[in-house]
Amino acid sequence: MNIKIGKSDNYFKKQLVVAVTALNAVDSPGPGVAVIRAIRECPDFEVRIIGLSYESLEPGSYMHDLVDKTYQIPYPSAGTDALLGRLMYIHEREKIDLIIPNFDSELFNFIKLRDKLAQSGIHTFLPDLEKFEARDKVKLFEFGKKHGLMVPEDKIIHEAKDLKATAEKIGYPMVVKGKFYDAIIVNTLEQAQKAFYKIQAKWGLPIIVQEFINGTEINVAALGDGEGNAISVIPMRKLYITDKGKAWSGITIDDSSYIELARKFIKVTKWRGGCELEIMQSDDGKSYIMEVNPRFPAWIYLTAAAGQNQPASLVKMAMGQKVEPFTEYEVGKIFIRYAWDLITDVSEFQKISGTGEL
């Protein structure tokens, strides 16, 4: 009888404990569930997923096939001390290897805590604070000028009375944007004032007023290694857009100009981690960077479906593994988002509401 014994990678796979935020899935969903789905699909490691939620009704918390355990964490406004305290409590119980934060508004705190987390053995894979802030909406125009990237002209304002002078400079239509989310196209001063107050009430000041660029909107999901290399770049054209401007369906496309643009962004910033470039190709063929989101987009699972699993690659790099840049992906891969009524019991809701854990 010929009996052989060989090493099977599966036997020696270490289970990684990965904590992920942004488990909400409203009509403007957080990327957390998609990030987890992509990570779970990677055959190179086993994972235990810890969900980090802010509210009791974030759907990801109840998706037990995706999320093993959920802990609530304090809102970003509570500051880094409160966050660190909670994360250490969770770490004592779960021995977290890696945290992947996915909300714009929480990234500042996580970047600030990066070194302290590392001292406790918790890896992250985030951009430096300087790079994170340079691509901020309120600084994007200057950032573009500095690095030779086309960005629409904008003006940062703190008072509605500045809208008139801004409109005279930029011209209508223009886009009134919040510092974190929301953008409203306006054609008159009255509309601009209404948009200003609406966004101010929701997201605070300042307000960004940006030149409107007419054209085709392309989104690019990219992953940088922190040394200037783009490990993955996937351009996607939105096929169906919600009234909030979010992609409800999209398709991977083959256009090297978007890929080059994303590579250039990653090279000049030495971006570490995932990001999303919102690009507008104007009718005369110019590609403007409208926004740079400093984290994976909600449609990130499409990158895995197209052959470049960006969340899984981030996990590998965060854990110290060298990842070679992807060179190919499938063009014409489509995602179609849908809403699904997850049924749970009040006991689960009671548990997370009462104890902050599920």
């Binding site: 085709t216 054209r237 999209g250 991977t252 496309i253 083959d254 256009d255 063009v331 014409g332």
Partner: protein, 81 residues
């Protein structure tokens, strides 16, 4: 008149432009014309072939073909000359 190299087509008349993500559907005659364009067939040869095969007036078909080519050009399906 050439179809862009990366344009994907099907026998059923589905056309996909991977550069823009746009997709189109044509009727069977449109699909036949696209298939001929894919083989770099000259326009006058397309007119001859279609008019031989179907009961259609050459002048009328020539006009319809011009319209169709305009639509393909607008949709960025054809190579820029």
């Amino acid at each position: 008149m050439k179809l862009k190299k990366n344009i994907a087509t099907s026998e059923e008349g589905f056309v996909f432009n991977p550069g823009t993500g746009d997709s189109f559907s044509t009727n069977p005659i449109g699909a036949e014309i696209i298939s001929l364009l894919k083989e770099d067939t000259e326009l006058h040869v397309i007119i001859e072939k279609i008019c031989d095969k179907y009961d259609v007036n050459e002048v009328q078909f020539g006009k319809d073909l011009d319209d169709f080519i305009s639509q393909l050009t607008e949709s960025c399906i054809l190579e820029n000359n």
